[in-house]
Amino acid sequence: MDVLIVVLFAITLIYLSVTERFSIYTNLIGTQGLLLFFLAFSEMEKITLMNLLFITTETLVFKVLVVPYLLYRIIGKTGIEKVHQKSMPGLYSLLFVSLGLILSIIISHSLHTTTINMIYFIVAFFSIYTGLFLIITHKKIFSHLIGFLVLENAVLLLSLAIGSQMPMLINIGILLDIFVSVLILGIFMMRLKQSAHQLTMLKDD
C-alpha cells in the first residue's frame, strides 16, 4: 500500500513541474500532505501514541488544511493567478524533472546499502531535486514558496526512508520552517496586496 502512495507522490511531483496555475499548485501541496499522512499512518506500529498524535496533527491538520487555506487566501487577496514569468517553458521543465528521476535512481543504486527503504529514498531525492528546480527556474516569489514546501515534504519522506522512527526533533524543525515561511510570507503579501504580483526573487542593486 505504501508503495502505491509513494508512486502517487512522485506523480504529483511530475504534475507540479508542468502546471501553471497557482491554485493547482496549492491543490498538489494539499494532496502531498494527505499522502504523507497516510504514509505516516502506515508506519504506525513503530511509533508511540504521543508521536502518532503529533504526526497526525502536523500532517493532517497543518499540511492538508491550514497551509492550503492560507495559500488560497494569499491567491485571493493578491490576485495572482498564473505563473507568468518562467525562465523555461513547460516542456523543458518536464525533461529536466524526468532527468532528475533517472539521476536519483542512479545515485540511490550506487549507495549499495540494504538498511534504507529504497523506493522512499528515491522519491525523497527526486522531491529535493524538483523542489530546488522549482525555486531555481521560477521567478515569482509564490513559486519559491511552493518549492520550499516541496523541500519540506522531501525532508519528511527522507526521514521515513532512513529511520524506522520519526524523531520529534525533525518534526518540530519542519513545523517551524513551515510556520515561518507561510505565515510571514502570507502576512507580507497580504499587506502589499496590489503590487504583490511584482514580487520576484531578491536582487542586490
Binding site: 500500500m1 508512486v7 506523480i11 511530475i14 518536464l94 525533461l95 524533472v97
Partner: protein
C-alpha cells in the same frame, strides 16, 4: 484469429457507445448504438469526388491505413490462447505497422495541397512521434517484469498477484487508456466534434476523402479503438479463468472503456494546442516511474 473476431465484434458497438454516453451526459437521448455503422453503409453506397490536385498516393492511403490496422489486430494475443503469429519483439512490429498506416495517411492528407490538411498532418505527425517513447517504455517495463519480450508471453506471465505488480498494472492500464486517447485523436489532444478546420487535427486530414475511402477510414477508427481495448483487456484478464468468463470480462472491459472515454470527453476541455506536446511527454514521465518501480522490483531493492 480469436482476437480479430472479438475486436470486430467490439468495433460494432464501440463508437456508438461513446456517442451515446456523451449525449446522455449532456442531457440528450442521443443516436442509436449502431448509428455509426448505418453511416458507414450509406457512405459505401455513395460515389466519390476526388480532388484534381491529388495523385495515386491519395487513393492508396485509406486502403493501407485500414490494412495495417487489421494486420496489427492479428498480432494481438488473447489471454490463454496460443498466438501462432506472435514473436519476440512483436510489439515493436505492432507500433511500426501502425506508424506505416499513419505515414501514408499523413502524406495522403498533404497530397490535397490544402493548407488546413497540412496543419493537421503536421500536428498528427508530431503527436504520434511524442507518444512512441511512452509505449516502448511501458512494454520495456512489462518485458523486464516478466522476463519475456513477445506480447503473448508478456501477458501470459504478467500476474497481478504480487502487490507491486498490481501498481505496475494500474499504471499500465492508465497509460494505455491515455495513449489510446492520443492516438485516436480524442479530447484532450483533439476534439472530434469541432467544426472549425483550424482547430482540427485528425478530422481535417479526412476532409477530402469521400464515399468508399471515408467509409474505410471510419471502419479503421472503430477497429483502432477495439485494438487498444484488447490491449487493456490483456492486462486485466487473468489467464486461469474459463473461456466463457474471459469473453464476458473482455466485453465488459471494452464497454467500460467506451463509457470511460465518453465520460472523459464530456467532462474535460480540450487543451491548448501548444500545451499538447507537454501533455504527451508527461505520459512518458509516468511510464518512466513504472520503469523505476519495476527496476527496483527486479533487483530486489523493495521489500
Amino acid at each position: 484469429m480469436t482476437g480479430l473476431v472479438l475486436a470486430i465484434l467490439t468495433a460494432v458497438f464501440f463508437p456508438g457507445v461513446i456517442t451515446r454516453v456523451k449525449s446522455i451526459a449532456s442531457g440528450r437521448k442521443g443516436p442509436g448504438i449502431l448509428q455509426p455503422w448505418r453511416n458507414v453503409f450509406v457512405l459505401l453506397r455513395k460515389g466519390s469526388v476526388i480532388s484534381a490536385t491529388t495523385s495515386f498516393v491519395f487513393r492508396i492511403a485509406p486502403v493501407i491505413y485500414l490494412a495495417t490496422i487489421i494486420v496489427a489486430i492479428l498480432i494481438l494475443p488473447f489471454p490463454g490462447r496460443q498466438s501462432w503469429l506472435g514473436f519476440e519483439g512483436d510489439f515493436v512490429f505492432f507500433a511500426y505497422l501502425l506508424a506505416l498506416g499513419k505515414f501514408l495517411f499523413i502524406i495522403g492528407a498533404m497530397d490535397t495541397g490544402s493548407s488546413f490538411e497540412g496543419m493537421g498532418a503536421n500536428r498528427e505527425a508530431l503527436y504520434s512521434m511524442l507518444v512512441e517513447p511512452a509505449f516502448f517504455i511501458l512494454f520495456g517495463t512489462l518485458g523486464m517484469l516478466t522476463g519475456h519480450t513477445s506480447m503473448q508471453e508478456i501477458f501470459e506471465y504478467f500476474r497481478m498477484s504480487d502487490y507491486n505488480s498490481v501498481i505496475i498494472g494500474i499504471i499500465a492500464v492508465y497509460l494505455l487508456v491515455q495513449i489510446a486517447m492520443v492516438e485516436n485523436s480524442r479530447v484532450p489532444v483533439d476534439d472530434p466534434k469541432t467544426h472549425l478546420e483550424l482547430t482540427m487535427i485528425h478530422e481535417v486530414m479526412v476532409l477530402d476523402h469521400s464515399g468508399f475511402d471515408l467509409a474505410l477510414i471510419h471502419i479503421g477508427t472503430a477497429l483502432k479503438f477495439a485494438m487498444y481495448g484488447t490491449l487493456i483487456a490483456n492486462c486485466l484478464i487473468p489467464v486461469s479463468w474459463p473461456v466463457a468468463g474471459q469473453f464476458t470480462l473482455y466485453f465488459a472491459i471494452q464497454l467500460l472503456f467506451a463509457a470511460a472515454i465518453g465520460f472523459m470527453e464530456s467532462f474535460r476541455a480540450r487543451k491548448k494546442l501548444m500545451k499538447n506536446p507537454q501533455y504527451i511527454l508527461t505520459l512518458s514521465s509516468i511510464a518512466l516511474m513504472a520503469f523505476v518501480l519495476c527496476l527496483l522490483l527486479i533487483n530486489q531493492m523493495i521489500r
